[in-house]
Point group: C2
């Protein structure tokens, strides 16, 4: 099923990974306050302090890093006469250091916890850990050591990696301090997710997902402009379709490039809009020509799923589409909006390609689907779109109807405002969904409100003292983890890097 | 303090390490019986069986190995979407698999437990562990794995290492099945301790100790004849004396060759006898010339420790000499015997070197010390040698008086027999001491009894189903560990490889 020519094009675009050596800045003593907040103070015992059994130190690296740790270890006392056994716990967020990995029993595999237990055989010596971690803090705990000597950590540094080059980052001119701050954090988030592909998060998953790619690519065009990385990712998805020809939700690069079995309808359709965005940023018509058949077939495959009423068929199957990280959400309505959105992207691409017949076809589908949405999903009494047999009212459904063009202008703005203020409307859960909400408000002409909303939401995250934006953020409970433990939360997550896109585009 | 010329000679002699690829033979199910014995049966689930969270398999490698493990891992189910976290427990003796490392609280550092917790990021894939282990069994336990796939162990092999070459092993001609068996186990023990130096044990310590070297060298001369390895070790000890000029108890090779702070008087004196043994095996007079000053100074340093009565001054200091692994043992008497033994070796070396004056000096010291032993330590009532202020009676004291020549012939034989049969005499603890006991019996002309004793003791160990002889063996309690857990016992220990020496020399 692989398209070998596309795959070769993709692999030839795998970027050079830049490496930067970042030394540990200091040793710190994170402390948990009564209100749950963590304070970070320099520790009394700094680097070089002799460590014995049970002792711990926490190294701090000044910013969120993605990379490989090297420790230069020394000895005080007699010659080391036995290995030293160490536990290392890497943390993006200091709160992770207050959880015991053994107490984690959530549904995400505990193997994502950035903990290692290692033996050091030769001391003094230099230990370079072979695995990559995402972290600002590293706690080193001496699990056991011979009584004849103490261990010292003389130096520690991270070989930080990214395919983004900070020297090429476009400057952001707006001097508003909050905008500057949000932009800086968003760029760092994107930077640390830019590796051999656009990863969703450098701590967990570390994979190319189409839903994340769509957002990352847009931020990339106004920041690092590493457009070939987007091109590589588009070719990867096109090279590795699922059996039906549908573009997969995500791609594995190792041990060999392969598509995952997880297929989500919204993600597949984003292939179309991501291709269009790529063309707009690059003018690279050759790639559009190559990848258009893949894009078009996503639209036709989705068309095949329509009911007689031209509505996307609802499904009970978990993960049939993504929309938001919310199990209670009925996704039919939002999915109808995503289809409209993708169809409009497809229509724009057919214009570029001078494919008039296809344009007419897609436009016809778009119109039928829009009409179906407005006929069957619009609830006049509630004055909003609903979703599924139970006519669920959610913010997500309205957002995608707006982005898909089912409703426009002031009506769209009023709709968004109305449903946002409805206490019974199902709320958004992830920054990913909030990103699309901000986008929809802008689309409805409410730029001021949109930017203000974005500043409140991402500003709240920034106020947690973050270096990078998180996978998940609930303003009402910033420490929340849907996984049963923050130690598997991803605190540098691509789908949250949108502020740099919105700010650079609308607040230059 | 380093003698650079000697060190360079030593380092130039560091041998090539031979590597042999040994595949896992099968998967087994070790079971503990009510009487504590372990039975090993092939397991129902073999290689390639799909493993999920909590599952374990035990690989068996057919013989005791020292080396590096490689696993070829596969996947059943969906694409691996998270790392796999594995715990590997290497065991020389299957009993180790029935102990929980977390329950070990003995005085030897738990970092010697051959357990690793690793993450495997790329699956299917090949994992090669960087550390060396000593084992016949490896238990692999899946600590966590994503629910989307199962792990399979497709292949497992050990890159077994030794500087001994089995192709060069001298055949042992005696067809007695027990002799053959003991010789084979002893040779395997030596083989697996022969690495960059003669190690005491490949699992724990992994270091060059003089007390072990003395025995290993003797076995080596009649088996692998890798005489340059002995030469290397002798030069290492001579190159790296302690501040006083005394030869250290052991040498570290990494990170740089260095002598340990542990200095034991008997071990230092064995430098003399080990040099003599080396000359007898090789005729290498150049080495004797180089190292004689070091050897001689050991004798003079020991002479400096004599009391006015020409007795070795007793000491309360732990570890002032080794003799046996027994804290209750008073070591003065045995130490007097060791000095006599070393003086005789020195006298023989002066003859080779034509150093008549020195010969006379050493002979004079030997005679005074022998007379002192027979005057002050011989207890006529008890009809044996005693040790220390409390006139302790132990087997060890008699052994070394015999080996040192304080008593000879039938009198010596009678003495050994008498004290062995005394229930109140302090018994031997380690195979190391038993080795010297056997040697002493042969020295006293009791070859038959000595070989029979050796066959009983080492035969008992062999009956435990061993591949290699152990560091410690108490026939009355084979599973005993003086460390508080068999998981830190060394089940392949150089000082127990003596049977090959005795058998090849006295039962050819």
């Amino acid at each position: 099923m692989k398209n070998q020519a596309f795959l070769e094009k993709a692999l030839a675009l795998i970027p050079v990974i830049h490496e930067t050596e970042i030394a540990a800045v200091r040793c710190v003593s994170p402390e948990k306050q009564e209100d749950g907040r963590i304070t970070i103070r320099p520790s009394a015992a700094g680097m070089g302090h002799p460590l014995q059994k049970g002792d711990r130190i926490v190294l701090e690296f000044g910013d969120h890093q993605v990379g490989y740790l090297t420790l230069k270890l020394g000895v005080k006392g007699f010659h080391a006469d036995a290995p030293v056994r160490l536990r290392l716990h890497f943390a993006e967020n200091p709160i992770e250091l207050f959880e015991d990995p053994d107490d984690y029993h959530g549904w995400i595999c505990s193997s994502w916890i950035e903990e290692e237990i290692i033996h050091v055989d030769v001391l003094p010596g230099v230990v370079s850990l072979p695995r990559r971690y995402a972290f600002r803090y590293v706690r080193i705990e001496v699990l056991d050591i011979s009584s004849r000597f103490s261990l010292t950590v003389e130096e520690a540094y991270c070989r930080a990696v990214s395919s983004a080059d900070d020297a090429l980052l476009l400057p952001y001119g707006n001097e508003d301090p909050l905008y500057q701050r949000l932009d800086r954090i968003a760029c760092r988030t994107l930077h640390n997710c830019m590796q051999a592909v656009f990863e969703d998060g450098p701590k967990r998953d570390r994979r190319l997902w189409l839903g994340d790619l769509r957002i990352q690519a847009r931020v990339n065009y106004v920041t690092y402009r590493k457009n070939d990385l987007v091109k590589e990712c588009l070719y990867l998805f096109a090279a590795l379709p699922t059996k039906s020809g549908q573009v997969g939700g995500c791609i594995f690069l190792e041990p060999e490039p392969e598509v995952d079995d997880v297929v989500m309808l919204d993600y597949s359709l984003f292939f179309v809009s991501t291709l269009l965005d790529y063309y707009k940023a690059t003018g690279d018509m050759e790639t559009v020509h190559d990848l258009w058949p893949t894009a078009l077939s996503q639209l036709y495959l989705a068309e095949g799923l329509l009911t007689d009423q031209d509505l996307i068929r609802d499904s009970e199957e978990m993960g049939w589409c993504f929309i938001d990280w919310n199990l209670a959400l009925n996704k039919q309505g939002a999915m109808q909006g995503v289809l409209l959105y993708a169809l409009r992207s497809g229509m724009e691409l057919t214009r570029l390609l001078n494919e008039q017949d296809t344009y007419m076809k897609l436009e016809a589908i778009w119109k039928s689907c829009r009409n179906a949405a407005n006929q069957y999903l619009w609830n006049s009494e509630e004055a909003c779109y609903t979703s599924g047999d139970n006519a669920q009212v959610s913010v997500a459904t309205q957002v995608w109807m707006v982005l898909g063009g089912a409703i426009e202008g002031k009506k769209a703005a009023d709709l968004l405002r109305r449903v946002t203020n409805r206490p019974d409307a199902l709320k958004m859960v992830s920054p990913y969904m909030v990103h699309n909400y901000v986008d929809a408000m802008i689309c409805a002409g409410e730029e001021e409100t949109a930017i203000a909303y974005m500043c409140r939401y991402w500003g709240g995250m920034a106020d947690q003292g973050v270096d990078t934006f998180w996978e998940l953020y609930n303003p009402e409970n910033p420490q929340e983890s849907p996984y049963g433990g923050t130690i598997v939360n991803s605190y540098c997550h691509a789908w949250s890097c949108g502020p740099a896109y919105f700010l650079r585009r609308y607040r230059p």
